[in-house]
Amino acid sequence: MTPRTETRILATPLVLFLLALLGFPTILNLVYSLSEVSFETLRAPRIEGFGNFADVLGDGAFWGSLWFSLRFGALTAVAEVALGLFLAVFLSPILRRHSWLLAILTLPMMVAPAMMGLMYRLVLHEFVGPLPHYLFAWFGSSPAFLGPANVFRTVVVIEVLQWTPFALLLFHLAYEAIPGEIREAARMDGAKGWRMFRKVEFPMLLPTFGVALAIRFIDGVRVFDIIYVLTGSGAGGSTMSLPIYIYTSFFKGGDIGKALAASVLFAAASFLLLALAWRFIGRRRPA
């Protein structure tokens, strides 16, 4: 057996697995999105061209959900990264000595987003929820957190509270990895406090900045669990993210072709975003 053959054999199981679980579905995606198909005619789709894509692109709800996802992704990513960076740097003297505190701060990341959503249904409930209870007790009123006027803000804040720890952790690890000599040298040159951070430390955190922003943006755009359990698609579709749109067209609307066309468009948009993100971060990894 030549080394070349051997190498191929080593990689074969993974390649086959991916072909079966992602390659085949991708082909199904493409075929069905171009077909007229329903749950009854699943095995005999009739190719009919780009009608499904026209349906999706003509659907106001699709554009609404795209706008929601982009806005949600951008807002949460920026807030999480800003807050995470602040906490990592501001708390670094404490965290350096008591690193177990990081386990407490990053605990929310271990909670399933769907369970986090259910917890907030309890926390925000107008009769049994602690938050409205305390707001009533202290201020005499409490907003309808999940009402149409506030629901967007509410889900953004919830997402930020759950995932800021992720940015915090990345920045903490990157900040601690800055070599001591660099800080020492800068101190010799008279840099300290804010100047030290801005001129010396922040530039060294920039790669982490890009990575954290990109990861959180992508995760924000594809948000599903937390919104599904909290609001469904929300009052009048006010919290319909792209994945929620795809899910509801498939399972509630029963419009398979349209749902698949939407997911093909989503896939294309994701690849585009990904390419842009890597260009923005400015390096093509991996390994």
Partner: protein
């Protein structure tokens, strides 16, 4: 300044974990207290809610959900290790697939998996994998592939070249080198990938929701059904206990294995 730092730390630790604290508190309240006392303090703590959760009823069989989650998450965490270790060796030592295959797998993390969920549903229907633990486990394995691959490629690349070269000189085949040398040396990385994969798989919701209906429903989805079926008459104490039970395993694992988790996150961020 130090006092201010501590104050900020305590404030955010409480803020981030507030929903957990509130849910824990509610789960210990008797039914009579929940309406009258929505605050965080429990006046007359009880374990009745947990007793109700652990009793099988027609609304909730918690053992079935836990078993489904355990089985599917185990498949979802172990299978990527088996698939990725040989492939990682091919990538790191033989230079295979570095230009196209590896970036493709690692960047899967950034692709919204719902785009595969619908065709998988149709495919599973034909293959009779809908509503099975195996079917759910297989797709959870896909979810975990990118990070497992990143972690294992790094781990294999970190093994000193001389060690496996010496073995190769002695005429050992790749399979043998892999079993005798790479596998033991990669054990810490395998543990890290397993723990992170298990937590991710346990916490997954979308595929559980779409690909299971009754027999293989995982704990996260079961908990949300419990909420939904309650309608106006949600028993909040029992519901809170259900959430705690569903959220607890990954949280405990996360607290115990905090260092491994941080390492896994880092691998994903640097290589992702």
């Amino acid at each position: 300044m130090t006092a201010l730092r501590w104050a900020v730390l305590v404030l955010f630790a409480l803020l981030f974990n507030a929903p957990l604290i509130a849910t824990l508190s509610t789960s210990f309240k008797p039914p009579g207290e929940i309406m009258g006392n929505p605050g965080l303090w429990v006046n007359s703590p009880t374990l009745a809610n947990y007793a109700a959760v652990l009793t099988v009823s027609d609304r909730l069989n918690v053992y079935a959900h836990l078993w489904n989650s355990l089985a599917a998450a185990t498949i979802g965490a172990v299978l990527p290790l088996l698939l990725c270790l040989p492939a990682a060796y091919a990538v790191a030592r033989r230079g295979w697939g570095q230009r196209v295959f590896l970036p493709l797998v690692v960047n899967l993390r950034a692709i919204p998996l719902i785009i595969f969920a619908l065709p998988l549903y149709l495919m599973y229907q034909v293959l009779h994998l809908l509503d099975t633990r195996l079917g759910l486990g297989l797709i959870l394995a896909v979810v975990n592939l990118p990070l497992t691959m990143a972690i294992l490629v790094n781990a294999v690349a970190d093994i000193p070249l001389e060690i496996d070269e010496a073995a190769a000189m002695d005429g050992a085949r790749a399979g043998r080198v892999l079993r005798r040398i790479v596998l033991p040396l990669c054990r810490p990385a395998l543990v890290t990938a397993f723990i992170f994969g298990f937590i991710t798989a346990w916490n997954e919701f979308l595929f559980g929701l779409m690909l299971t209906t009754s027999k293989a429903v995982p704990m996260t989805v079961g908990a949300s059904f419990f909420f939904a079926s309650g309608g106006a008459g949600v028993q909040w104490g029992v519901a809170a206990a259900v959430i705690v039970v569903a959220a607890l395993p990954p949280v405990v694992l996360g607290l115990l294995m905090y260092r491994q988790i941080a390492r896994a996150m880092m691998a994903g961020a640097v290589k992702g």
